[in-house]
């Protein structure tokens, strides 16, 4: 169990095969913008095949951590971070993070990523790859602030490679990790939070 900066109590554990409903119910809790940043398209639901793919994992080539709320009577899923090993370059893995809008900007994404990075290193992964939408606010932040990550354009997406380093990554690498996995807007000033755009339906 973990307590976030604002006192929220959260359980962080590896994802299980039984978490399909958790994931499916999380989709509507992501705003269209957050969904787009995570999946690069505006999905309404995950198919049964996708849910199996995302929850029945081997914890070696494919690892995911979920965060579950302990403050709510029904323990809803608050966020997921996962990596999937690149078959052609086995020391690299694609990383992706999603945190439901109501719980963004509380340090949850950072926490999930730190756990994920530990698991990744234990399994011989030394760099995360992230695919980001060019219009993602993350990309601008990366370009301006994070020197060590390499970025390139691939099929209209921005591909970011972040080395994981050894042991506990310093604050610079933390920023890189957060930025690389996308979907998290902690480092953006309060006036420009992702997921709080007016005029959107609930």
């Amino acid at each position: 169990m973990v307590v976030l900066d604002d006192g929220t109590r959260v359980l962080i554990r590896p994802i299980r095969a039984g978490d399909k409903r958790l994931l499916q119910e999380g989709i509507p809790r992501l705003s269209p913008q957050s969904r787009y940043l995570r999946f690069l398209h505006y999905l309404e639901r995950l198919t049964a095949a996708e849910l199996r793919y995302l929850t029945e994992i081997d914890y070696r080539d494919h690892f995911a951590w979920v965060a579950i709320s302990l403050d709510q009577p029904d323990q809803i899923g608050l966020g997921v971070a996962r990596y999937i090993r690149d078959k052609t370059r086995p020391t690299q893995a694609e990383a992706a993070v999603a945190v439901i809008d109501d719980y963004q900007c509380r340090g949850l994404g950072r926490l999930l990523l730190t756990r994920l990075a530990d698991s990744a290193r234990e399994n011989g992964v030394d760099a995360f790859i992230a695919y980001l939408a060019p219009e993602s606010p993350v990309v601008n932040h990366l370009l301006q602030n994070v020197a060590a990550a390499t970025t390139s354009n691939e099929d209209g997406l921005v591909k970011v490679i972040v080395p994981l380093g050894s042991d506990d990554p310093g604050p610079g690498s933390q920023a890189m990790l957060r930025a690389a996995a996308g979907g998290e807007a902690e480092f953006i000033s309060p006036a420009r939070q992702v997921g709080t755009i007016e005029g959107e339906p609930g």
Binding site: P32, Q33, H41, G156, Q193
Partner: protein
């Protein structure tokens, strides 16, 4: 690292429009050009016109009429009508009452009308006729802030009560109010400032909700003055207005430029008739979107093919194109140039005269990328077609080629007073008095797009060559721009379609195309279940996706989605692709992120087929 293009002239333009509003400009025009024609239109077979004095008078009457309906300073008057005099008078009437005139596209679905009317809090809506009304009526209850509807034509039924009145009644009310109180409108006009809102343009946002771009009087006049200097435009030009007034290009090119330069504008109510209007008006400046110029080109080529002198004409065209292309490369072809002069006399002068384009000094293509070959074609014919770049958010024109500096394939150089910069990732940033005030009621979006240095983030990626010409090389934001210059957000359309099983992924296609189409990818498992439920045979996804019954069922789902969209947003054709988009296929990343561009590349053959015929 950024590349700056600095352009002198910003302070001069600031001074030229200082302390001036649209109200001042109309007053000046009525005083200085009172007897000169301002607007022309057709009534049946007859041409009608108003001179500047009359135009202003009826605008004041409309303003007074709107005031009797309760329109106050800072309010919005919504307008949904074609390009006809009442449209412009309504807009100027709103302006003179201290309000803003906002045009809605004629093709909007009722739910879209509701969104915009409530967003801008329009008090009065001025509609063209009962066809428009039919779409507003069912949703009136959802627009509680809307107090009155004015119908330009058609019969107002007695059961409408006080809510609905006819255009003539609006003007009569205004005349009466002015008789009772001659200073009625003047008292409002006195308080109008250059930074007051003059209009809003609603443009698509990526999450599907339209965003209202807010323009001050100053934005609009500054932009008109910048264009005047850039293109060297004289006063009193003849212009044809035919594109939707809901688009910034039309408002700027005919309405605001028309006011600023006291032009005479010929209002064409149906874009399909624009050729007739051009032939009659013989415009001196003309703006078209790529689709319009493409149609002209097709029409011309068809006519040439039927002309008994077709071999001569096509020789002239090819020769002209050679000369244009050589000039682009900095070469001059002696013989071809001499021939070109002969062909100009023998062929092209007549072609242009036949089109009504013999007086055309400025011809612009904008709002979406143009095919360079098309631009070469028109230049070969002696029509100085130039590509211009701008956005709603930049009040339209920001960067443009000019007849004197036309690098085909680029969008030209910044217009006077405008500065452009490339961000680190190549995004084009624009600064100038033409940059709009922001988005209505969307502080986050506004902050993201209009940064605190005052620069507009266009969402387009560009490069600037050593001579300062800007090329647009790509787009950052997830918006489709059709060949008609219409911005469409794919997200709500894709989302709506995806909520149907067994659809797993939808990719909307439409960039630089005349209409929207879709690639639909199914989930194999869901398709199998669905087949069972419908009593259809399922062998494999590939064959299943092509079965006529499956396509027919998908058509039903597409029709359902289309019903809630405006005509230009509707999916005209679709293809169900034979494969599943799973990580192994490369169509999605291992974490299930869609690789849109890769997908479009992979299926480009199938996509091209949807746009043939």
């Amino acid at each position: 690292m950024s590349t700056d293009i600095r352009h002198a002239g910003r302070t001069e333009i600031d001074e030229a429009v200082a302390a001036t509003t649209l109200v001042d400009v109309l007053r000046r025009n009525a005083a200085v050009h009172g007897n000169a024609p301002a607007i022309h239109w057709k009534q049946g077979d007859d041409w009608k016109l108003l001179n500047w004095a009359e135009y202003r008078q009826v605008a004041l009457e409309a303003a007074a009429g709107l005031m009797t309906l309760g329109v106050e300073s800072g309010d919005v008057v919504a307008i949904q009508a074609g390009n006809r005099p009442e449209h412009l008078i309504a807009d100027l009437g709103a302006i003179h009452s201290g309000a803003a005139g906002v045009t809605l596209y004629g093709t909007l679905a009722p739910s879209q009308i509701v969104y915009i009317v409530n967003d801008c809090d329009a008090k009065v809506a001025i509609l063209e006729d009962v066809a428009n009304l039919a779409r507003w009526r069912p949703v009136l209850a959802e627009m509680p802030g809307l107090r009155h509807i004015v119908l330009m034509s058609g019969i107002v039924l007695p059961d409408a009560g006080d809510m609905m009145i006819g255009w003539n009644e609006l003007i009569d009310r205004g005349k009466k109010a002015l008789l009772d109180e001659p200073q009625l409108v003047e008292s409002r006009m006195r308080d109008i400032e250059p930074n007051d809102v003059a209009t809003m343009i609603y443009t698509s946002g990526t999450t599907g909700f339209p965003k209202g771009v807010v323009f001050s009087h100053r934005n609009l006049l500054w932009t008109a003055e910048s264009s005047r200097r850039g293109f060297g435009l004289p006063d009193n030009l003849r212009l044809v207005s035919y594109l939707p007034m809901a688009h910034i290009a039309e408002r700027m090119a005919s309405h605001y430029l028309g006011l600023w330069l006291a032009c005479q504008v010929f209002y064409c109510p149906d874009a399909l008739q624009v050729v007739d209007y051009i032939t009659h008006a013989r415009p001196q400046a003309f703006l078209g979107v790529p689709r319009v110029w493409e149609k002209f080109q097709n029409r011309l080529l068809a006519r040439f093919a039927e002309d008994p002198r077709r071999r001569l004409i096509m020789w002239a065209v090819h020769n002209g194109e050679q000369v244009v292309r050589a000039r682009q490369e900095g070469r001059s072809l002696m013989v071809a140039s001499l021939l070109a002069r002969v062909f100009e006399r023998l062929v092209f002068a007549k072609v242009r005269a036949g089109l009504g384009m013999d007086e055309l000094v400025v011809a612009v293509t904008t709002a979406a990328p143009s095919d360079p070959d098309m631009i070469v074609f028109f230049n070969a014919l002696g029509i100085p077609l130039c590509e211009l770049y701008g956005l709603s958010e930049s009040s339209g024109p920001a960067v443009s080629n000019l007849p004197s500096a036309n690098r085909i394939g680029t969008v030209g150089k910044p217009l006077p007073g405008v500065e452009i910069e490339l961000a680190q990732d190549g995004e084009v940033l624009i600064s100038g008095g033409n940059v709009a005030a922001g988005y209505h009621s969307l502080p986050d979006e506004t902050a993201q797009t209009f940064d605190d240095r005052g620069w507009l983030h266009t969402g387009d990626l560009g490069s600037i060559d050593s001579d300062g010409f800007l090329s647009i090389v790509g787009r950052k934001k997830d918006i489709i721009i059709t060949a008609a210059g219409k911005n469409i957000a794919p997200s709500p359309i894709e989302m709506a379609l995806k909520s149907n099983q067994p659809v797993a992924y939808v990719c909307l296609v439409g960039d630089t195309r005349p209409y929207l189409t879709a690639l639909i990818a199914l989930d194999a498992e869901e398709a199998r279940d669905w087949a069972k439920a419908k009593g259809l045979e399922f062998h494999d996804l590939a064959s299943f996706s092509q079965m006529p019954q499956v396509v027919a069922e998908m058509q039903i789902a597409v029709d359902e989605v289309n019903r809630k969209l405006s005509r230009v947003e509707q999916i005209k054709k679709f293809v169900i692709v034979p494969d599943e988009w799973i990580p192994e296929s490369g169509n999605v990343t291992p974490s299930l992120k869609v690789r849109r561009m890769l997908v479009m590349e992979k299926y480009s053959g199938v996509i091209d087929q949807m746009y043939q015929g």
